[in-house]
Amino acid sequence: MDVIFENLDLWTEGISLTLLVFFFGGIIAIVLGTIVGAMRVSPVPIARAVGALYVNLVRNTPLTLVFFFFAFGYSALALPNLSNTVLGILAIGVYTATYVAETLRAGINTVPVGQAEAARAIGLPFGQVMTQVVLPQAFRSVVPPLMSVLIALLKNTTVAAGFSVAVLPALQSTVSNSHNRPGTPMEVLLWAAAVFVVLVLLLTWLQRTLENKWRIAR
């Protein structure tokens, strides 16, 4: 237990930084993902093409490489300096946005066209077709996979550790590089894994709760 209590400052920093990257990365992913998802289902062919290109390019790039681009490539642009944490958040946001976009698109595709046709047939205007018929159904089928995307995002924050952001797994090198901090790498990493298991279980529980709350009987 010394690993925890003697290094409490490191653990607080690691966990709060992990949650910070998760939170802001999630916001970027959801905002950007919604935009790209909307482009992918829009009636404008060129917007669809741009959305598809973005999704296919980024989704087929390893997250590590996206980080690589942001961590080492950004400085090559000679733009104002950003801290590694900010660049990490951007990298993970840009990467996860593609998954959010695909989830939203898939969610909208689960709504049968007949639903919208029936809504139009009874004379609802476009706004009501969307808000009363299509989006409520799409939303319900999107929430569980969207939570899975966020769970994946949480696990992906670990990659930031490789690019000098002090998220949880980075604790291992900090502890083993210092002389007066107790704990073997194994202990540190197992505790880090345990933290992730707890966080993931928490999110899974939330996912299930939301899902049961909005379950539809079809």
């Binding site: 009636p43 296919n56 087929n60 898939a106 595709n109 689960t110 066209v113 790498p185 996912q207 299930r208």
Partner: protein, 305 residues
Amino acid sequence: MTSVLYDVPGPRARRRNLVLAIATVVVVAAVVGFVLWRLTLTGQFAASKWSVFTYTTVWAQIGTMLLNTLKAFAAAAVLSLVLGFVLAIGRLSDHAWVRIPATVVTEAFRAVPVLVMMMILYYGLPSLGIKMEPYWAVVIALMVYNGSVLAEALRAGVESLPRGQREAGFAIGLRKSGVMTLILLPQAIRAMLPVIIAQLVVTMKDTALGFLITYHELLYYAKLLATQPGRPILQAAFVIGGIYIVMCLLLSWLAHWIEKRGRRSPKNPVAGPHEPAADDEATLTEVISMQVSTGTRIRDAKTDH
């Protein structure tokens, strides 16, 4: 072109769409233009930055590293498929003493990030006196994570089959193993093939994590190239990134092709009209692929008759 979101556009909608199209082009051109302008400004397109890629040895090295990536991917893919089957059958077992450990192992492996698993194997085990090669750390970490995800996909596939399949199997006198291997699994594999291949694409991408534990693969070489004269770090990332994208696109394309082929077949087992909203333990790829396939299937059903 009717979508659930909009009707066939009329004159006003067409005008609006044109405006939106122009706006999209302008925004995208502005972003791309800005990045290109910054890149030119900092001389990223100078010949000296790209000159490393004119050497045959560099390409030979890239070939070796590509081979290393593929070696890790191939081993991880095969082993995770094996583990996936073992865990899936374990979770579907009638015996609690098999089912419960399999469930715990699957859930635990799924919750631990791959990178943490790799670090446990590479940095953690030596403190217990076990030395592990980076290659095996990468392969084993990918195996346990993707194996447990695949197990979930296979289990979902088996459970989505109509109950009559199992009952009919028992009715013609098959044992449990026969019902599983001859009736349930073949159908589940077929229904889940797109998900399985999508997960293999994830495995391929995750081999790049090996770079962080000093496994000599493509990305590691990109970092190495960046120390060459001219420090071509972006250029190396572009070239290596292109290789990754091509490999993953090939695999994705294979997944798509298999999915289309499976749907065309008269024996199409189809996991039934699966309800993604009612799916509580689904993994990301599986839900998306289910959504996609049910979505398109509904549309196909509409247009086919």
